[in-house]
Symmetry: C2
Subunit: 419 residues, 2 copies
């Protein structure tokens, strides 16, 4: 019994010239996957009628459900609605609920309203309107030959709202054919092939309905076990022993058994123990603080930090010794340690993490090569520093440094707290 | 005369279950576009032989060039190479240069090497090897019936290296059929439909070979003029008058005439004037600092900042008055202003920007509703604060706040410096 097959079509010239990165497809795929549906293909096409029609034809030939995003905005480069009208026939009608909603939005925000805005309430009479509580362009639900075609706006926040409120409940009612279960093991510090070799025997013993995938990303490797079958409870029972066997084998490099960012794993450890954190970031430029504060409730443990990009900021804000900077340089073990203990003390935090390095593209004339980063963690009476070297470009070095810094902190906490 | 048509196929189950966001396609599309090629379609398929073969068949039917990324890693879920061998025929051979390169990488990094790593040097003898200076998996170039098929690893950094070193130069030599020219105007503070209305007459007067697109994103709207034709110089001459007319009409909301982030526009203003900046971020949690420090050379003007997530950080690090916090609350005009002047003074910066607010999902019990953010800019003897209200989820509110903060600073600078 095969699962419902879905194709996602994203529309917009901006996707084809690379001006916009498509985040919608990944989010939609996650949601459908959780319902046990299989996304077969994702296709991006431009704002051109022929390309859109061809894509719709091709995807309807292979998929049970086609989800289209984009091309619904008020400006003249958005042509999805006329195309769908032609494709499914019928006439345009004005949806009164949507019209009132559009008027309300403009009057609430006190913005002038234009004809193009009012026309957002026009929909083909062959569709079911999917109300957009977060914006003006409604979604549309069409059915043909037992297949479903959904059209959604491309603005991620609005698309997500319509998916959650309107599309997913309808799809859930329509389809309960199969189940899919994923388990993820997040590891850090070892390369993909080395991790694979360590668990080759376990992978070899997996039954046919359970697949293992390796997803490497920035110093980390995620392992994903996926099982497909008729019965969800049975799938959990089938997969768990393999998940546990892998997690035990890889114990020393496992960060989390949830598919979650490192920042969330840190949040869990800090919150559970009532301990607090301060940061002193030089080369990472606020990225670690940004990642930590993406987790709701981070203010419960993260007291704050400094982005001490200049030497002045290091001395003035957290009391790094000017002599240390002069003698050892900004990118040094001594400076990293003083940054960590300085911000820890200044904010009265239980732990502190610091990062100072050179990310490129240009050297600042210091003795250390580009890509060198010193990081330090300060705990109760103990400071530990480590030197890293990254070999990529500026943005990637920065991301790597942020990940490695959080990992250093995570390991330090594990050691100190016997986790 | 039509441009070379390209399809991009990305391979990997992780794309279809939404565990990975596809950034490769956008980057590849940008590069090809700059060569005057048209990306017709982008297709993502899973790690399954039939799906990959079907995608290759379908894209070869419509495109002159097909670029495949992913599915080349050393683990067993990577199946692109065997498939290409079958598709194009021939036998596997070991490429000695790649083999030596793989061995060198492992010995340099002092990591144990496995059989699967050595097998990365095996390639179908029907392809031209595209050397991967940044990693172990080589790219492959196949030709059939005058069409080109390129297979690249999915790791972005490695894929980019092979594209720049090997693929783009080969494609450039093969094809000089047409030119494409883009101009971008970045605006902020007005909605897409309102911007469109203001320049409707200019848009209406565009000749057939010039298209205008509106790309809305987080409080900003990018306008992109695209011209296609035989002669690149002529295209520049054709488009520029329209670009200038639009920029003049929208003068009050134009941020940049380059397709660049706000952080880069700020970098340009600060660098050109030799002025400096400090930040005090509460609710934005380091995101503004992170965005500013994405720009190489940011250390030339950005002295640093504090992420004062707790009240303690606000008082201890930058001297916000405890009475101000008690009387007005952390999310208030008074606190925002003291944060800006406090960090400005502490770091001796010419300008400072601050942000303090509630981003959700939970309220902290303060009088202000979720989504309220106060921001302030301090200049020479002048402090200006503004209250914002965002209506989205935590992550989007944070991004909006960062964008609006940078915009507030940008406008303040324009006023003070007569830009």
């Amino acid at each position: 019994m095969s699962n419902t097959a879905v194709s996602i079509i994203t529309i917009g010239d901006e996707l084809l010239i690379g001006q916009t990165i498509d985040t919608n497809s990944a989010w939609i795929a996650q949601q459908l996957n959780a319902l046990g549906m299989d996304v077969l293909r994702r296709v991006a096409v431009g704002d051109e009628r022929a390309a859109m029609t061809n894509a719709l034809d091709a995807e309807l030939a292979v998929a049970d459900v086609v989800i289209i995003t984009g091309g619904l905005g008020p400006t003249s480069d958005d042509i999805t609605k006329p195309l769908l009208l032609e494709y499914f026939g019928g006439a345009m009608r004005t949806d009164e609920r949507v019209l009132q909603h559009v008027k309300d939005i403009f009057s609430r925000r006190n913005r002038p309203m234009l004809d193009v805005n009012l026309r957002q309430a026009d929909v083909p009479d062959s569709c079911t309107v999917l109300f957009n509580s977060r914006g003006t362009a409604p979604g549309m639900w069409f059915e043909r030959d037992g297949k479903v075609i959904v059209s959604l706006p491309g603005v991620p926040f609005e698309m997500m709202g319509i998916m959650l409120d309107e599309v997913l409940p309808r799809l859930r009612m329509r389809d309960r054919k199969g189940a899919i279960v994923h388990y993820t093991i997040v590891t850090a510090g070892e390369g993909e092939s080395f991790v694979a070799e360590r668990i080759a025997d376990i992978e070899g013993s997996l039954p046919a309905h359970i697949k293992l995938a390796f997803l490497p990303a920035l110093g980390m490797v995620k392992l994903r076990l996926t099982g497909k079958g008729a019965d969800e409870d049975q799938l959990h029972k089938d997969i768990l022993p393999y998940r546990d066997a892998i997690a035990e084998r890889l114990q020393n490099i496992v960060v989390s058994l949830q598919d979650e960012p490192l920042a969330k794993a840190l949040y869990d450890v800090f919150s559970a123990r009532g301990i607090t954190l301060a940061l002193a970031e030089s080369c990472t430029g606020g990225l670690i603080a940004h990642q930590l504060t993406q987790v709701p409730g981070a203010s419960g443990y993260f007291m704050g930090g400094v982005v001490c990009y200049s030497n002045g900021a290091k001395t003035d804000l957290i009391g790094v010794d000017a002599d240390t900077l002069a003698t050892h340089g900004a990118v040094s073990e001594a400076t990293a340690k003083e940054m960590a203990t300085g911000v820890q003390q200044r904010l009265g935090a239980t732990y502190a993490l610091s990062a100072t390095g050179l990310l490129g593209p240009a050297s600042d004339g210091s003795a250390e090569p580009i890509g060198t980063v010193w990081m330090a963690v300060a705990g109760s009476g103990r400071v530990e520093a480590r030197k890293f070297r990254f070999f990529y470009d500026r943005e990637r070095n920065k991301e790597m440094a942020a990940t490695m810094g959080m990992l250093l902190l995570f390991r330090f906490l594990k050691d100190e707290n016997n986790i």
